[in-house]
Symmetry: C2
Subunit: 479 residues, 2 copies
Amino acid sequence: MSDQKLVSRSEDFSEWYNTLCLRADLADYGPVRGTMIVKPYGWALWENVTAALDKRFKATGHLNAGFPMFIPKSFIEKEKKHVEGFAPELAVVTHGGGEELEEPVVVRPTSETIIGHAYAKWIKSYRDLPLLINLWNSVVRWEMRTKLFLRTLEFYWQEGHTAHATYEEAQAETIQMLNIYADVYENEAAIPVYRGRKSASERFAGADETYSLEAMMGDGKALQSCTSHNLGQNFAKAFEIKYLDKNNQLQYCWTTSWGFSTRFIGALIMVHGDDQGLIMPPRLAPYQVVIVPIAKNDAEKEKVMPVVDRIRSELAAADVRVKVDERDETPGFKYNDWEMRGVPLRIEVGPKDVEKGSVAMARRDVPGREGKSFVSQSGIADTVKAMLDTIHKALYDRALKMRDENTHDPKDYAEFKNAMEKGFALSYWCGEAECEAKIKEETKATTRCIPLDGQPDVAGKCIHCGKAAKEKALFAKAY
Amino acid sequence: MSDQKLVSRSEDFSEWYNTLCLRADLADYGPVRGTMIVKPYGWALWENVTAALDKRFKATGHLNAGFPMFIPKSFIEKEKKHVEGFAPELAVVTHGGGEELEEPVVVRPTSETIIGHAYAKWIKSYRDLPLLINLWNSVVRWEMRTKLFLRTLEFYWQEGHTAHATYEEAQAETIQMLNIYADVYENEAAIPVYRGRKSASERFAGADETYSLEAMMGDGKALQSCTSHNLGQNFAKAFEIKYLDKNNQLQYCWTTSWGFSTRFIGALIMVHGDDQGLIMPPRLAPYQVVIVPIAKNDAEKEKVMPVVDRIRSELAAADVRVKVDERDETPGFKYNDWEMRGVPLRIEVGPKDVEKGSVAMARRDVPGREGKSFVSQSGIADTVKAMLDTIHKALYDRALKMRDENTHDPKDYAEFKNAMEKGFALSYWCGEAECEAKIKEETKATTRCIPLDGQPDVAGKCIHCGKAAKEKALFAKAY
């Protein structure tokens, strides 16, 4: 664990974030500039969210597979917009086995092209559709300005790639996956999200439509929290992914792709963390409960430990992820340490608790006396489970309140500019790229998405140019 | 699925293997020469074996983490033997983000060096030990002669990396992990293995001792099925991994590493497969049971399907992985297809079975009438589970019998040379590298390992040079 002091969130949000990643033992910097080591505590969190996603992917008929990290450089160039988007960020392998390669290969920045190549070979008839494959892997984008979890040279993610017989099926898949992501963000991570459609300028390189979830971070900025793309027939045409339909006619497939990455961990830190450190949402926390035995001497230890062990067993049997901290350190040191790591619930067991048949329970999300209660040892598993649900709801409600308080509805462009100092604005937008670019130039805010939910029934006027506008867009400065 | 015909195993084992990987839908070739796509059916098998391993790793205190794929080229050069072993196989990234890199980076061939760099930073005192970390990832070795699963340019694996305070602890860890691998091979995959120590010439580049499991394939050749290395203080000294002991003295750590890869799938195919295709060991099979409804018309379908659905539910509720094949194909087509894919047990439900309250059950490992039985629908889950155990045991016994029948104890070198045409020899060996090299030159057989079990109590004479020899070595031609 790093010894660096954690500055307060309000003082320097960026510094607070960087230090917290290290202090909470989530990650470290790799030796190659811009790379990241995800440490065991961070990886355990990643395993929990991948399990939550994987279960949902499988329940909707998706199968996992493994595709090579190396892609012929020529593949990237086959889809016109794709190469424009990704060429500047490629890592290129020029030598292998001691010799210069005839054709350089790139390390995948994303796998649409190699998937396209394989699907063209595998898909023959309508009977082979839909083809629903997901990959858990890492990808490489050679970024210049990096930040742990948010933007690293290599990052972990899943990328889903599906092929369908019709546009409608592909579109339904695109939205289904967006909804699965929203379900995980809200119901597992306690992070409220806007579901929306990207503007043309913010689309994935090669997509007909890109959808994203946008969440508000603790400093009021937006984080694009995952994306789901309807790729139309762009990759199908570039890679000749065709099928024979029921009338024996050769047709191009309709494809989608969708991804969720370790950026998620960045979102989790920035939404829930506070000046004491991380706060893990209970349903994904590597440890949901830490038990700290309080014993000044061996006699007290003999009294306390059997109760500690019994509580640990009862919680483990009820599928609560529990850790007993038996280190040779003071209780105060342990409290601080687990607060920094964000364990949602702490249970203290001392000699007096043993006598009274109770334990002290401290909520990570409610500091001080207010978050502390004394509860009976009997029925502890039920008490803990109920409390974990309470904490989940409290974290979600707090994040939603923060977001709503900082989501503005400015009357005019002057108010809009002011609003963009902190938070989101939901404002009519004419849909023109030019207007979007001007707003970005003048405020550094971008269209995050055009929300799918809560659009007004009536048309209005663009917040920037005043022209007629059908929909409101979500504007914010973004990570 | 490939349409290529499967040749018989005895006719051309290598061709049989290559075709089977494609026909059983396990894998396909990637576009970059030597790379492999693991298709969903192969990946599901890999997920099952990774789960079996991961459970055992966690139960013995290991934590997973994520390390970058990119390693500074200079790292590889820090451990003298390591660079000799791996330099010729490296993939080198020379360009990133459109520019030539100041220092080229390599894609990890294995992670000892980057782990060494991190551990040197993380480990401060004896309190930080042992450090027990495992990585699930893929690594790259630029191989010239590749073969699906057995030797591919990129392959999937886990690599464990641990640091300890003493040699004894590191040695205990090395053997513990070897035993975990043996447990998975024998009790999950039904593959008997020899546990043994590698000769100096066959050691991992940078290890003090390498241990391996060696299994006999269907053609009598050996496959090194995983390895566990006691790295001594070699990497600790190269990367300055030190800790303060209880007396406040700075000491070098003792480290280990151990790995299990997608080669395992190659072993599984070559041990259990037959001329009809794959045979999946029941405990790891993606589908343990396939149900084929037999119905000539809609009336029969209406009769049969409720029973099929009920059986499927009962099996799924008992945690049996079950698939119902409702495709619009003939039963014969389906039988062949699932035989090719190696599903251990097939259940057929036709109108007559419905009347009798029974189903037909066919074992994949016993062809024809002999493997077929009619069993009651009531209590089907228990019947199936017992049968899956029977199949596991039968596969293991068959593989063991094959191995024992082809493991020779040659009287002299002439007999030894003969024995090396097919199978293993357990023979006294003097331990000299020169003798080992001569044997390899003359017979193409190598020392696979010096077995840990079943060594004779008395010394003997080297099978090649006749000098005194304390132990027997396992000799064989190998993949």
